[in-house]
């Protein structure tokens, strides 16, 4: 294979991996503080994308400034997703903290359904895919058969930066310290003066903000968003987080890239079997969980007796 195409495939895989990793990080953060899976996370991504779309359309109708539109769109996305994440976290997940895991899974799945249906019914012609405006400069870099838009590179770099920033936030800041303390042992954290509820909601806000950014990246990159994209993304993000190791920081990032890698690899090597790429990816997930029951990077010690 031509080196240019190899580079192109690598780029595609990286892009996909970053998006998966950002979503998986959210799953891992929520699991860290509360030991729950918030399945509505994928739909929070969709919500972010649609909020951005709305804000961009509004700004576009007032002033023709793509840069401003982008910034305001991003802010709107983050605000909407954070609000949704905190409402779901505060009213549905926190009260069910001591319920069986299935209940939390189911209630957040249903919350996701509500978000999804609300978008479908609330947005005019919400059932159809919506074009996402190209707000970044769309010149291309062409090196041989490798061709990539400047906007794609920007999006990829921004995604990587956000992932790194999240890591920094969790490992270096006060909020991060509180998150890690609560994740380690909620009771001890509370004794040392950390507000449990606020920390948990803060984590939900942080994870949802990541989802919002992922949503905007998806829109900018694929130039198309639709109401049901969150479901598949949610499943993939969840899978990436679990395979990588729930509760850890590096695990979900690793899991995201792994998942993207398997998908891309199947498509390149056997094109006629590209429909099997999800089959392959999920088979790998099942096998990995069988081999590493607590994920590739496990943060949890064995259960206390």
């Amino acid at each position: 294979m031509d080196i240019g195409f190899l580079a192109q495939h690598l780029f595609n895989g990286l892009m996909l991996g970053v998006i998966y990793a950002m979503i998986a990080l959210g799953f891992s953060l929520f699991f860290g503080v509360l030991d729950v899976i918030k399945f509505s996370h994928g739909d929070v991504v969709t919500l972010g994308a649609f909020a951005a779309l709305g804000a961009i359309a509004f700004v576009g109708s007032v002033v023709p400034l793509p840069g401003l539109a982008l910034v305001l769109g991003l802010l709107a996305a983050i605000a909407a997703s954070m609000a949704a994440g905190m409402v779901i976290g505060g009213t549905l997940v926190l009260p069910l903290r001591n319920a069986p895991p299935v209940n939390v899974l189911l209630i957040t799945l249903m919350a996701g359904t509500i978000l999804r249906e609300a978008i479908r019914l609330g947005v005019p012609n919400g059932g159809n895919p919506k074009p996402f405006p190209a707000l970044l400069p769309d010149r291309r870099i062409e090196i041989g058969s490798f061709s990539v838009g400047i906007d794609s590179v920007t999006i990829l770099l921004a995604g990587l930066a956000v992932v790194v920033a999240t890591h920094h936030l969790v490992t270096r800041t006060r909020l991060g310290l509180a998150i890690r303390a609560v994740a380690q042992d909620p009771e001890v954290a509370c004794l040392s003066g950390i507000d449990f509820r606020r920390t948990v909601l803060g984590t939900f806000a942080l994870g949802s903000a990541l989802a919002a950014v992922a949503g905007c990246m998806l829109g900018l990159y694929y130039r198309e968003i639709n109401f049901s994209m969150g479901l598949v993304l949610g499943v993939i993000g969840f899978a990436a987080a679990v395979v990588g190791g729930l509760g850890s920081l590096l695990g979900p990032i690793l899991g995201g890239f792994l998942f993207a890698g398997v998908q891309t690899l199947v498509t390149i090597t056997v094109p006629s079997a590209s429909a099997y790429k999800d089959v392959a990816a999920f088979a790998v997930v099942i096998a990995l969980i069988g081999l590493f029951p607590t994920g590739l990077i496990s943060e949890r010690a064995s259960e206390r007796v």
Binding site: N12, Y222, T267
Partner: protein, 386 residues
């Protein structure tokens, strides 16, 4: 002259009869409508329902009609098992004499046994899987719209004739996409075209960059998409993103307003093939459009609305002639030949499949334009190359 006079006389007499006899004197005949009224295909389903509703309303307003008609709509959710449930419900209701049924092929094929078993004559208005009519010999199953065989054949012949020789196919793995791929590939070889790669994909797949990079490497003249609007939109937008130097053609599933809106400017020049002609090409097309507008429906009739309208009329014509009896209606529908309708003459073949020809459309300036009327056909715009 003579004829119109007779018509006028009959109409006058009918009016008098109608005025004299109380309205309830007409027996009410129920007709089922089944289609996807919720979910991802709701736009097509609701358009079909509205159109057949319009046919019923117009007939009820016609004083010559011997019966009063009532359309009973059912939602099959585009799910086969739900489809069988509602088909059973409709078929088991003895007041329902016939049905205008199904947009989704998976549902259409799942329910044929039910209709045959209950001997309910139905006219399919949208599902295009060939097997629905050709896969069985049930007298009850009729279809006014064409099958994907027509579309695939036309696509292969039309595109090769325009000089496109190498194709990459991206199709979804539902029976719709798989069928489209099958018939397109089947007719492409004799027409002199070649398929360089085929990518079956899941209908809800988001990312096609891996497939499209492969395609870019293979440099086909054209990408043929066998799938519905979301797939078409994604492939088209991501072709743009990766700088894939090819054109795109798609089956009727992408010939929607949703595709044009979703793909935005990138949609320009996309070719599609569809069993129906534009409303303006039909003799009564304008009248239908006007009546539809007057009836005040909120949603568009969508691409298959005229078929649903014609199917409903076909059934009501049969009822008028032989009365509300399922067996007689079945026999009457079976014998349909050369029947004028909104969508042109309806001729059922020995599998009760209407013989239709497909048409070519092209996305031009944010609209789907009938190919012969387009600037592309006139040579003002060109689809080849970027």
């Amino acid at each position: 002259m003579r004829r119109s006079l007779t018509n006028a006389l009959i109409a006058g007499a009918a009016l008098i009869v109608a005025a004299l006899s109380p309205a309830e004197a007409k027996d009410t005949v129920k007709i089922a409508f089944i289609g996807p009224l919720t979910g991802g295909n709701a736009a097509a389903g609701v358009g079909g329902r509205n159109s057949s509703m319009l046919a019923v309303q117009l007939r009820n307003a016609d004083p010559k009609a011997k019966f009063a008609y009532e359309l009973v709509p059912f939602d099959d959710e585009c799910k086969p098992n739900i489809g069988v449930q509602v088909a059973t419900k409709a078929a088991a209701d003895r007041a329902i004499v016939a049905g205008v049924t199904h947009y989704c092929s998976a549902v259409g094929i799942a329910t044929v046994d039910t209709y045959a078993r209950f001997k309910l004559p139905v006219v399919v208005w949208g599902a295009i899987l060939p097997d629905i009519t050709y896969g069985n010999d049930y007298k009850q199953i009729h279809r006014v719209n064409g099958t994907m065989i027509n579309e695939g054949k036309l696509a292969a012949q039309f595109l090769t004739a325009r000089g496109f020789k190498t194709f990459a196919v991206v199709h979804d793995t539902t029976d719709y996409g798989k069928g489209q791929n099958k018939y397109f590939s089947e007719y492409l070889k004799p027409a002199g075209g070649e398929i360089v790669a085929t990518f079956p994909v899941s209908p809800d797949q988001q990312d096609f960059t891996a497939e499209l990079t492969r395609i870019k490497e293979l440099k086909p003249d054209m990408i043929f998409v066998g799938g519905l609007t979301p797939l078409g939109v994604r492939v088209r937008s991501q072709m743009e993103r990766l700088g894939v130097d090819a054109r795109m053609a798609g089956v009727s599933g992408i010939m929607t307003a949703g595709f044009l809106e979703g793909a935005g400017a990138a949609a320009e020049g996309t070719i599609s093939f569809h069993n129906g002609a534009p409303l303006s090409k039909y003799a009564d097309g304008q009248a239908f459009a006007d009546a539809y507008a007057r009836a005040g429906f909120r949603e568009d009739p969508d691409a298959y609305g005229p078929f649903a309208y014609s199917a409903a009329n076909l059934i009501m014509d049969a009822v008028e002639k032989v009365g509300p009896d399922r067996a007689k209606i079945t026999a009457e529908l079976n014998a349909t030949k050369g029947r004028p309708s909104l969508i042109g003459e309806i001729n059922f073949d020995d599998h009760r499949q209407n013989i239709v020809t497909a048409n070519v459309y092209v996305a031009q300036g944010g609209k789907w334009v009938f190919w012969p009327d387009s600037e592309y056909a006139a040579g003002k715009r060109t689809i080849a190359g970027r």
